[in-house]
Subunit: 234 residues, 4 copies
């Protein structure tokens, strides 16, 4: 078995589930960019299509985040039982459902933050923003929870997988690392539903906290792994 | 050879046929969701597209059911001869043909059962429902029969594959397990063509019987396998 | 090395070229069916889309014919040098170019032979049929010649591949087996350009000769292989 | 380890990253051809779609050039660490962003050089050509620089990869071989922004210099490798 950091990679050979997941993700990101405005029929449409690039790039890397989550999980554990199959297929289904909401959400955000320099997806009122942020928050919360569920499943099968002490700590840490954005999405949903007037944008700004919470969690993990190494060397 | 339950997995390495089948299925499910309403151009279209989600999710898992059928079959037997190739390609062709009828059928069902809260695919009269149920029944019947045919093919080559007694019973059981929904689809087709007035909905309700017949078949299989184990241990 | 008939399979492990070719072919066939009429917006459009099924199925298996040609070739020889790469990419490009002409050609043929019961792709005059048959003939001729070129390339590297006497005969036979439809396509092109009035349909009927010429070629090949076996056993 | 010329191939087994990259590239090229004019609805549209073939073929092979660059790199080094992943995903994102600009650029070029015999993508003025050449130059420059960055990354890990003297020279040569077109793209961008009147076409002609600079670089590489072989045999 090869290693990635502390983790022995149990699932490096390709399976059909992985091919299917990869093809569906590749398709989803292609659709994000390609079908957004069909083929430009005039120079102005061509330029407008290019102005959508920032929103496309943002939603591309959002989708990729979930693909990387699935890939890291399947490389580490190589599980392909009934539960792994079910969760993976629900994740693919979820990605396909949220691919357009994602696009609309990022286009709205880009339009808002560029003060209309970059195009909005369509004319939007504050009431619409509320719904879009709520939908995005719900989707983000569910998708991150599904990846966390994959790690919970692996953790439950820790004896069968013969995970060592370090790998058990790393698996628990991954569960937390995906529950943090999941909780952030839930908070975004709640803020979107309850905030008054222009405070709705808080439901977008809440995701910025991830740049603090996730690195902080990483630091805590490293401390825990050091402690573990000390304990076992004693 | 690895095992899945009682079955030694003869086809775990990827082949080009499998990559092709996976890519085509991944496309088909993506198309189910993505191209249904093109990109929303206004907030109302955006919300309407989201209301299609239940119908999409239902047809996604319907298509996935056939993909899982093909995957389980190819993992178990690893056959890639002329007949396996022909049947697999006919299944891919069949999925592509029924992908839109499926979508329309589920959208109609979702619209009907939610009493119009969720959108119909397009305005429908009872005469149209008859045709849609008939087309769906025919497609469902043929697709399940094709998966059954894959197992019949594997059963015919049981000596070449060196299937043991348990695996032979399991293979015969799979043939039956796919002929049951195939027969249900046929009954749906007949009901759609013959039922009077609003009784046409029976052609949709008939598929609910699968929640009884398939588990019942599973119980019978387990009894047969126990008997077999007893006989061989005597 | 495994065997398929008389042939040792040198290329059974998957390569990136093969994944790329498979994904592009899977995409091309999906596009054949899916984007033809966008999503039906009314019951009549739904039924019309279903009536396109025979033309779709015919063009699906036409595209699959070239995929099977490429797959058989790469399984047998496992070549992935510069020439194999170039020819494979030209074949993918060719398939993408001819995918719509194929669709139009088969829809026209189906419309013609069903006497208008099944839908024409669009209103057609005899002068248009001439152009469609000519384009189809040219595309068919070039695509088959490209597959033949793959086998010529393998035959040239016969020493490097260590093909035995039987495999050399089989390779030469494959070259001929692809040049026959290529020549038929050329004849279709010439007939389309020169035939008078309704005789243009001959440019379509010419492909029926393949049901005689290809089996005849197969019989000749078997005789040659028998002779070879006799000679080597003497 | 197999070899390709002087290079031992470290990355011949398929990984998920490669499947994902392949599927995304296969989609991108299919989209180039398929969605350009939707399905032809009349004979004239059908013929017009065929006249787009030269521009499609040119942009197909342009996209393929980057795919071949990525494939050659991953076969040689088999790296799949964080940096390789990041660069590969940026390349995929870049390809999806430039796929329509590429199409427009080549259609404009084909329209210009055929003097309007082949169709322009849409009516164009000289000011538009300036923007199209500038966008193309920027995209080409960035994409080639990204492939060069992949080789720089491999070169940095040369000790970990245990590259021998020959392989180090070849890796440095690949970096240069991708920086040359990158610099050419930059020159095209500058020319597009600064050229007066019809001189803007220089921003297109500049790419013709690659037919001289790249072969010249190849000759220099062979001289260096010969020198190296002499030195090591002394």
């Amino acid at each position: 078995l090869n290693r990635h950091g502390h983790f022995r990679l149990r699932g490096e050979s390709m399976s059909r589930l992985e091919t299917f997941v990869d093809a569906a993700f590749a398709f989803a990101v292609t659709m994000l960019v390609i079908s957004v405005d069909d083929v430009p029929q005039s120079y102005d449409e061509f330029i407008e299509a290019l102005l959508n690039t920032p929103a496309f790039v943002a939603s591309f890397f959002q989708v990729i985040m979930f693909w990387l989550g699935h890939r890291a999980w399947s490389r580490r554990y190589g599980l392909e039982d009934g539960m792994a199959l079910t969760l993976s297929l629900i994740i693919v289904c979820g990605i396909l459902v949220i691919v357009y909401p994602l696009r609309v959400m990022f286009a709205a955000a880009v339009g808002y933050f560029s003060d209309g320099l970059l195009p909005f997806p369509f004319p939007l009122e504050w009431a619409h923003m509320r719904a879009i942020f709520a939908i995005y928050g719900a989707g983000f919360c569910v998708m991150c929870a599904l990846i966390a569920a994959l790690y919970v499943h692996a953790y439950r099968r820790r004896d069968w997988l013969a995970l060592n002490a370090e790998e058990r700590v790393a698996t628990r840490a991954e569960i937390e690392a995906w529950l943090i954005p999941s909780a952030t999405g839930l908070m975004g949903l709640v803020l979107a539903l309850t905030a008054q007037g222009e405070w709705i944008v808080l439901a977008g700004w809440v995701y910025v906290t991830l740049f603090i919470t996730l690195p902080a969690h990483d630091v805590l993990l490293k401390l825990r792994l050091q402690k573990l190494a000390q304990t076992s060397s004693d």
